[in-house]
Symmetry: C2
Subunit: 340 residues, 2 copies
DNA sequence: CTGAAAGCGCTTACAG
DNA sequence: CTGAAAGCGCTTACAG
């Protein structure tokens, strides 16, 4: 082992000719407050010694002492999902800016796996959690509350738990308005699973928006599946098996929309000429598809950042409220004015 | 704060009527070795006390004492990229199985950002690093070596640094063979950036495979861009601006392939009737696209898992070699026998 | 303004 | 087989 011993507070203290406690105080206070703790010359000496030695606080020592790890855990359904990866990036960014580091882990929307992952994070002594996989009925959240584990939600809501969300109902309504304005009269929906508030709210907003225009959405025009391409493919297959071809398909996720387009094509239906398609999230892919996809843009990175902000308030025991973000519709070539 | 004090070794020791050192030894040894450390009855008492109290080792105390954090850092170009998210999942899985936790962070393939991220990870006292963003010429790796920081590479190679990789040259060759066998004679390539060994090797294998069949690849049939859909779109636009329409396009990434298909369509070219398209990675999307994409499957999850395995060997100062994986070609509808 | 001391929770040589 | 002690690096009330 030629790796040299990492400098500690003691190394710095010795080099600067002061006590470790003084070094600790100086290094841990901002430029302003430093003067309260040490003479300007002492501060100078300490700062120089620390810089020369390349001192870096050992977080384990600090955490052990303070019982605060400055670590947070983020639980996502699956990191391979672009939307969730983006939300994590937002959390991670905001966390890093505040001196925190973030772990991410997949729950796969499986309650058992999820609980195991949360326990692992807690075992690592994270200060708090950001959960991106809340369920409409969610016993885990109650359990965490009972154990006084600080957590916030992101993206998906559950009960009145605090977090950072998008106005998904509005998102669904925007899609309904877009389609009806273009002249579509018989749209169908391939919605994500019922345990996800996002899927429910997008569907709910869509239904409401249609009804407001006198176009109630029949139950057989709705399929509940998952959020990936395969789900979209299966969803459309199911819709087509049920009855007449809808004139539009709203998939509550861009990937599902891509699968939906594939399935439509398998049945000899062209997009947008025969069927209009709308996705959700404005994934970068949406714009680069052979037929660019009409979709709803949701500020996912911001949601991630905001989730951390709310969590930090919770950790500081400050009063905190949920933060909400507004989606916008992005019209592209996969929908068009209907010729009649 | 109603949150009850977390039980410590001391709590357990008191409950079991033994010393903390005994508890530590028993809890840290496997079933087999336990008997060497304590009488069966003592072991029993300790185990029960720990279980009843819900004891969990405080990793900060342990890390402080042992100077081992059981933490690893994973650096990826970007987590939003499906391939990298998958590799991270592999690393994380393998790490968790071995009692490690993993941080991930984005370098965005930017040297400055990358170095900053690595320093942050080191500041968190990770035991080692998995770098998925190695560069063909990579000063950071030399620096890490000098500082004796244990690291391994994944996916992208650089020099003879150890890691877990796929045989990308073979992957490129498989594509060349597939296309030539179908009768394509004038393929073009939209390859990732030159600092990524994966892009270079896929291109190199492709070129070599073509040459072996008497079809040298002209320089103006190669465009170097990025790995995302936008890059594929731009790459094809560039190719078409340069000269005659190629009869096939090999994009070294599925997302680039999707962008390429979009750009081809913009120019009124149909896939596969006018131009064949091949991607790389067999992203789930590939199979669900309107025109399912011929692509190369690379065992990315395995690569991630293997990378951790190699890292663990390095951490144990065991001799370690790189692990290599074999890709396979997945033919789909985006390529077809050429009619002449 | 600065120092000395205590202690966070853990592991590990050292005794016995 | 088990205990007592030391110490990892840090922070923070307490003195002065």
């Amino acid at each position: 082992m030629t790796r040299q011993q990492a400098p500690t507070l003691r190394t710095v203290a010795t080099a600067a000719g002061v006590d470790v406690s003084t070094v600790s105080r100086v290094l841990n206070s901002g430029v302003r407050e430093r003067e309260r703790w040490a003479g300007p010359e002492t501060v100078e000496r300490i700062l120089r010694a620390a810089a020369e030695l390349g001192y870096r606080r050992n977080p384990h020592g600090a955490s052990l002492r303070t019982a605060r790890s400055h670590l947070v855990g983020v639980v996502v359904p699956r990191l391979q999902d672009y939307v969730l990866a983006t939300i994590f990036e937002g959390v991670d960014q905001a966390a890093a800016e505040r001196g925190y580091a973030a772990f991410v882990t997949n729950s796969l929307d499986d309650p058992a796996q999820r609980e195991a992952r949360v326990e692992q994070l807690l075992g690592r002594r994270v200060d708090g959690l950001v959960l991106c996989d809340a369920r409409t009925d969610d016993p885990l959240l109650r359990m965490l509350d009972e154990r006084d584990v600080p957590f916030v939600l992101a993206l998906r809501t559950s009960g009145d738990h605090v977090g950072a969300f998008a106005d998904e109902v509005l998102g669904g309504r925007l899609v309904a308005e877009h389609l009806t304005e273009l002249g579509y009269r018989d749209p169908a929906v391939v919605a994500g699973p019922g345990y996800a508030s996002t899927a429910n709210d997008r569907l709910g907003g869509f239904r409401e928006g249609l009804r407001a225009r006198g176009l109630p959405l029949a139950d057989d025009r709705v399929v509940r599946t998952g959020f990936d391409a395969e789900a979209g493919r299966a969803g459309v297959a199911e819709l087509l098996a049920r009855g007449p071809v809808p004139d539009a398909v709203f998939a509550t996720n861009d990937f599902a929309a891509i699968g939906a387009i594939g399935a439509l094509r398998d049945h000899g239906l062209r997009v947008p000429d025969d069927v209009g398609v709308v996705g959700y999230n404005d994934t970068p892919l949406a714009d680069s598809l052979p037929v660019p996809l009409t979709t709803v843009r949701s500020p996912t990175l911001e949601i991630g950042r905001a989730a951390f902000t709310v969590l930090e308030r919770r950790l500081a025991a400050e009063p905190c409220e949920s933060l909400s973000f507004t989606p916008t519709l992005v019209p592209r070539a996969s929908t068009q004015a209907v010729q009649r």
